[in-house]
Structures are given as structure tokens and as C-alpha cells.
Symmetry: C2
């Protein structure tokens, strides 16, 4: 039986060396979007490969059409048959540091400072996203190996270098290497804690349907004086139809839209209601005061457990300075639906198209462009691995992990699900004030330290 | 008593010389929008001044900030006191001839050809718009002076050189010279006949209210995943409000919008219903088939006698290729109302703003930008001068002139009304197939000939 306290002590005693390794990685400006830094991305990948090899992983840097992947395997001999083989995912690329003049210290010269909160922090581009986060896992593995001589479960590590540019090489790489990368569960470290004292696991990610709708009326743009009153105006048609997409209570009016939406379990709702979450602050930060979604539901319910429809863009006719007396030939809008577990993207898309077609008046044509879609992802709360991970986090923080939702989607999780048929457990130690993608990005030293300890516990718990 | 038949004979006998003078004017490329042709605009103005002086007018070329005006006066000694002093308006500038390669003959080398209809035509840029049309009046004046020794009424001629570029100098010129230019009635020759056999007087011009509406929601653009369902979306707000601007019967839903709209007199409606007008062709030419305006009204009623509301432009959020998961901070639209006689632009504007404000949900702000407005213009059918002109046209064509409406506005008529307090009678001899602003613009020889005869009759009729 492995001795977890010894692993945790190893982490505590070697914290400074762990920080030094993180600092080394942070000094590599692996900005993925700028071709000038392509060599730095390779350097970061090679450095990570070296670290993994030093730990005993069978590691390689694997070329793609873009920046390379790091893939590494560690399969201990004597793990129980019931223990899962896990796939850990992180990304070594970072956002550009611009605007440089707003950094208090150079973005690739990491500094340890005391933050406004009094908490010690490490400041650098990538300190949190995602170098700090991925290093919590690698250092936890190091502690297991250092203290116990081996990892408690089989681990495959996949580190990507294109996450900040939309992961163009990821899906083909997963498909080309499916056998090598498909394991029992994915562990993803790229999300937040609830607050500095409260761990979180993100178990609900909304899905997405993107749809473009183009309404055409007259065959050419018309003079609104000479035709106005007799000619069909596509902007009028489009605004009228889109204006009917929601009812007076904020619900999406497409028939059947909510048919496959399961009610939120009382236990989850109770947990969310008990969270220290200020709707006033959340909305107030962006100049709003009233939840604009479905009536009678909290903001967290609206964001994490309910599907939505939003108009992301609309254009038609004359949009320059001043005026133009035009009835345009066409108008178009970009619509997106956020889906929750149970909703089928194609059914939602079909429902929307029928909704529009039923309302289309004479002399109009409508064209739809499907811009992609993905179902929502929800890890059942009774998932064995999830339960084990939640228990480990509770042990570390002495309070239960919040089972969070996320209103957006995290593409890697969808890709693991759709390409490899694999669920993901999202555990991260970021905080809302980390300033990822912004100047002076930071990672709390406590996040780094307790992140390592958390992963050490999670690995132990997964071993059973 | 003047001998009208002698004046008409003078026109018929001297038709070739009249055509030659029109050809001379058409050879001057007085394109107002292109600074390279500024000298040609001056040349056209000077040529017209010379023609008017030769007829005995007190004529001058008057500088403006742009191209010059030609102003000329002819006040005969012995006209009856009851006879009006008329102001004739035309414009000597023309549209650019592009695309040149589509002209069958060079645009400024006028050709006399037989058109597809078998009717003789003169082809050149400006053949109709407006050189051919303005010359019908000048040649009618020449015939009166040639046959009778004088004009039957006092005439002031105002010829503009910036009509095709929006008449920037006109309003200040009218105000600076109001005393010189304000007379009993304006005669404007820049419109169409109903068909080659049927004269027309345009007596109704719709007014216009331009309004821009900008809805702001969140203080910054938001991620539609992280905020969607809880945050107010200004595009949703705007489309919903604009979608309610019309009721199910195509009527504008702004309260009170129709309060000041007088019903169309039965006699006018009967005249319009009797016109050889094909709704099918009118709409079919632009890819439409069904009148989209107020239910139960003919297309001509919708265009000439009913007010409208159209959305001329709308924009918000992401409108580029593909998709963006954004809830934008703002969305805006450009709205225009076409007004009919009796409607006050400010009342309409106020009504629209109240309509929007009443529907604005929490956390939204709305800003309105007034882009100008003008009331509709309607010459009462019992106007003395109108009756006289209509009688003259009936004499020439042996059928009554159609009292047409025009869905658009004609700025000069509004300017005469608002700046000089003067009504206008719009008589023109253009035909829908003249191709003004297009390659191979033409004017039917019959339009030119009967136009001269018509003006000769109108001048005689106005003398009483």
C-alpha cells in the first residue's frame, strides 16, 4: 500500500525545486500564434519531454502540421487491475504578452511577489494558463516517483502546443493516434477553483450549435422611396422572426426546444444555491443588474444548466455613416444555441430552421449555413473516477469540491468524447483574478502547491 | 390675345433647329461629380446663359461654392395682372457616363436612332436627364418669342449644376437670393410621363424621417458561453422591438402613426385604379410577386398615398466569416419613415422613440440620432395653376394628365417649399425606359417635341 503522507511530504519539502522548474518553463516564450516563436514552442516541448523522460516516462515530441505534441507514457508494473489508465492533458503554449507596456515585470522573466491579497504569487505569461497548471500534475508525478518509486496508476501525458490558437492539429492527431491515447479517463488541468479555499470540478459543459441565417427578398437593392410600402424588406422579415425567438418569460420559443432538457437535480441546485456567488457582482462587473434569461432561475442555473439562444451578429442594408434610402436585397444573422445534456445538436438545428421557415412570408428565400455544433457534456455525479477525485480534493481542502458547470465549451473535452469516446475530469487551481490572457498573469503559490498535493491525492485515490 | 396655334406651328416648323441646339448642349460633358469636368460645367452654364440672352432674358452665370447657377429673368410689359410669375427649374449637370464600354455610341456624341420600339430617339448622356427636359422649356419660350414676340407670362429660369451630386449649394443659394427667386409657382421639368401617350403631373411626394437607433446592453462585449442566458443581448432587444414595428396586416404599429393621414379621395383612387399599371410587372422586375405593404391596398396606393416604415440598415455583433461566441455591447439600426401629407416629421419621430423606449427592457440604454426629415408635399388638385397646366396637357395629348404620386422625395421641391414658400408643378416627359444614369440614355424625339408643345400650352394657359 502506497504511503500518501510520504508523497505529500515530498511535495512540501521540495516545493522550491518545483517552483524552479516552473520558472524554467515560464522563461520559454512559447507563443503559439506568432510564427516568430515557433522555435520556442519546440524548445518548450523538448524541455517537457526531457523532464518526463527523467521521471521514467517513455516520452516523445511528435510533429504535427503546427506546433508539436508531447506524448509520454508511464505504465507501472504492479498496479491493481481495477486501477484506471489515465490520460493527462495540458498545453505548453501561451497567449502573446501584448500589451507589453502594461506588464510590471517582463512577461518571460518570472517574478515571485506578494499580491494585493497578501498571497504569494508567481507572475509571468503562462504562470497559470497553462504552464503552472500542467506542472502541478508533473510535479505530483515526480513526488510519487520520488517518494514511492513509481506512479500508483498508469499515466499517459498529452501536452499540446496550439490550445491558444484553436487546436487545429488536435482532432487529426487524436484520430491518428487513437489507440495510443484512448484510456479510461482523461484528467484535464486548465480550469479554476471556486475560490482560494474551495476546490472545484467542472462537470457540466454546455454544447453549441452555430447557425447562420440569410434572408433574401428583392433580387436587387431597391430605393426605399420608390418601392417602400410595396416591396418586401428582408431586414424587416429577419428582425420579426428573430424577435419571436424568445417568449415573454425569456424562454426559447422554438417548439420542442426544452423537450430533452432534464431538470436540475435538487442536490446540485442546493449546492449551487449555497455557493458564495453574488449575482449582483457578476452582472455588475459588465454593467448589468438583472438576469436576462429564463424567469425564476438563478444566474448559475441559467449559465450552467439551461440551454440558450443568442444572436451573435446581424447585418443588412446600409451600415455606414448617415443614411441611405435602401431596401436591401438581403439580411443575415449569426445565431448560436448553447445546449445542455440530452439535447441533440441536429434536432436543435432542425427545429430552428423549421421555426424560421414557418414564419417566412411570400417573396422571401432563406438560406442556412451550419457552422458546426457539439453536444453538451455532463459527467454523471456517480461516476467512479469523479467520486474518487472529489474525495481526494475534499481530503486536501477539508471541504467538498464544488461540482461546477461552465457556460462555454472546452473543445478538448468534446474532442476526447467525440474522437476517443473518453470522459474527462476537469480539475484546475486557477482563480478568477489570475488574469490569464492579460498583462501580469499570475498563479498563486498556494494554487501551485495545493494543486500538486491535490493531484498526488487524486492519483492515489484512482489507484483504489 | 396670343395666337397659340401659331406658337405650336413655330415649334413644329423649327423642330430640326431645336434638336440641333439640344445636340450642342449634349456635346458638353458637364459631369458634376468629377472635378476634372468642372470647366465643362462652366461651359454648359455659359452656353445656356448665351441662349437665354439671345431670347431676351436678363441672364447671368452665378458662382457658388460648387458649380455655378444660371439665373435668367424675362418680364414682359403687358401681361395681365392675374398672370403668375413662374420660376422654371432644370439642371444642366449629368451623371458620369460609366461604364463607357456599354455605350453603343460615345456618350457625348449624340446620335439620332430608331429605338427598339420603332420610335425615333436621341441617345447621349443627359439626353433626358435633364438637358433634353430643360430644353423643352427653353424651346417653348423661344417659340413664344419667335411667333408672338414675347412670353405670355413673366419667367425666371434657374438652372443648377449640382443636382446629380445632391445639390449642396442649392439651399444656401435659394436663401441668399430668395427675393429674386420667389415667385408664384415653380415649374420643374425632371419627371416622367405615365406612358408615351399619357402625360402626367406629379402632385404627391412622400416626406421622410430618418432615424438611427442604438441599443446598448452590457458595458463590454461578452463571451456568449460564459454569459449567455444571463446577460442582456442588445441584438435580441433590437430585433424584438423592430419586429413589433408592423402588425400582422402590414400596418405601422407606432400608436397614432396614421392619425393625420387623410383618406385618398375616391376620384384619385378611381383614376389610379384605371391606369394601365401592372403590379405583377412592377414587382416581378425586382424578383417579387406580392405587395408587401398594408393589406387591401393597391401597389400605387401603397407607394403614392400611404406612409411607411422601413429598416434601411442594421448591424450588431460579429458579421465576418464564420462565427464568434459574442454577446455584443451594442446593436444599431437605421430606420426611415415615408410620410404623406398631413404627417408632421417631428411627431412621427417622437412616436417612434416612445415606441422603442416603452419596449426597452432593464439594463439597456437607447440612443437616437436624428438624420433629418421633411414633410410630404401634395399640391391640392384644385390649385389654379395645376388646373391650368392639366388642361394644357389634356389639350396636347387629347387625354387627361395622370395626377401621379412619387414614393420618394425630390429635394428641389422640398427646398422651394421650405426655403421660398413656393409650390411646384412637376411636369416631365421622361419615360421609364429612358435609362437615365445608365449607358445609352435616350430621350424620345416625341417626348422632346410634345414636351415643347406642352410647355408652350402651359405658358399660354397660365397667362389666363
Amino acid at each position: 500500500m502506497a504511503d500518501l503522507p510520504r508523497v505529500l511530504s515530498h511535495i512540501d519539502e521540495n516545493l522550491e525545486q518545483s517552483v524552479e522548474r516552473l520558472v524554467t518553463l515560464l522563461k520559454i516564450p512559447s507563443v503559439s500564434t506568432d510564427p516568430a516563436f515557433a522555435g520556442e514552442c519546440v524548445r518548450a516541448a523538448e524541455w517537457l519531454k526531457g523532464e518526463l523522460e527523467a521521471l521514467g516516462f517513455d516520452a516523445s515530441v511528435r510533429p504535427t502540421g503546427g506546433h508539436p505534441m508531447v506524448v509520454a507514457h508511464y505504465v507501472p508494473d504492479d498496479v491493481p487491475e481495477t486501477a484506471p489508465h489515465v490520460l493527462f492533458y495540458g498545453h505548453y503554449d501561451v497567449q502573446p504578452p501584448d500589451p507589453l507596456e502594461e506588464w510590471k515585470s517582463p512577461p518571460f522573466e518570472p517574478q515571485r511577489v506578494k499580491g494585493a491579497s497578501g498571497r504569494e504569487q508567481i507572475v509571468a505569461r503562462g504562470a497559470e494558463d497553462d504552464k503552472g497548471q500542467l506542472m502541478t500534475f508533473l510535479e505530483a508525478a515526480r513526488a510519487w516517483i520520488g517518494a514511492e518509486g513509481r506512479l500508483p496508476v498508469a499515466v499517459t501525458v498529452l501536452l499540446e502546443g496550439e490550445e491558444e490558437t484553436g487546436s487545429p492539429s488536435l482532432a487529426p492527431f487524436l484520430e491518428a493516434n487513437a489507440a495510443e491515447l484512448t484510456h479510461d479517463i482523461a484528467l484535464v488541468c486548465d480550469t479554476n477553483m471556486w475560490d482560494p479555499e474551495t476546490p472545484a470540478i467542472t462537470t457540466r459543459l454546455r454544447g453549441l450549435v452555430h447557425e447562420e441565417v440569410i434572408v433574401t427578398g428583392p433580387s436587387i437593392d431597391l430605393h426605399s422611396g420608390l418601392y417602400g410600402g410595396a416591396a418586401r424588406n428582408p431586414i424587416r422579415v429577419l428582425t420579426r422572426i428573430l424577435g419571436e425567438l424568445h417568449d415573454d418569460r425569456g424562454r426559447v420559443a422554438v417548439p420542442g426546444f426544452y423537450d430533452d432538457v432534464a431538470p436540475l437535480p435538487d442536490a446540485i441546485k442546493a449546492q449551487w444555491d449555497a455557493l458564495d456567488f453574488s449575482e449582483k457582482d457578476f452582472l455588475g462587473d459588465v454593467g448589468l443588474s438583472v438576469p436576462a434569461g429564463e424567469e425564476g432561475r438563478s444566474v448559475l442555473e441559467q449559465l450552467w444548466s439551461r440551454p440558450t439562444c443568442d444572436i451573435n451578429g446581424i447585418i443588412g442594408g446600409y451600415t455606414g455613416e448617415g443614411t441611405k434610402t435602401v431596401i436591401p436585397s438581403r439580411a443575415s444573422a449569426k445565431i448560436s444555441f448553447r445546449l445542455v445534456s440530452g439535447q441533440d445538436p441536429q434536432t436543435v438545428r432542425d427545429g430552428f430552421r423549421a421555426f424560421v421557415r414557418e414564419r417566412l412570408p411570400a417573396d422571401c428565400e432563406v438560406e442556412f449555413v451550419a457552422h458546426g455544433g457539439s453536444p453538451a457534456i455532463e459527467i454523471p455525479t456517480d461516476n467512479t473516477y469523479l467520486s474518487a477525485a472529489a474525495g481526494a480534493l475534499k481530503d486536501e481542502f477539508s471541504k467538498p469540491a464544488v461540482m461546477m458547470g461552465c457556460g462555454g465549451s472546452i473543445p478538448i473535452v468534446g474532442a476526447f468524447r467525440s474522437r476517443l469516446g473518453m470522459d474527462s475530469i476537469l480539475i484546475g487551481f486557477g482563480l478568477p483574478d489570475d488574469g490569464i490572457h492579460s498583462p501580469n498573469e499570475k498563479y498563486d503559490m498556494a494554487s501551485f502547491h495545493r494543486g500538486m498535493r491535490s493531484w498526488a491525492r487524486v492519483l492515489g485515490a484512482l489507484a483504489g
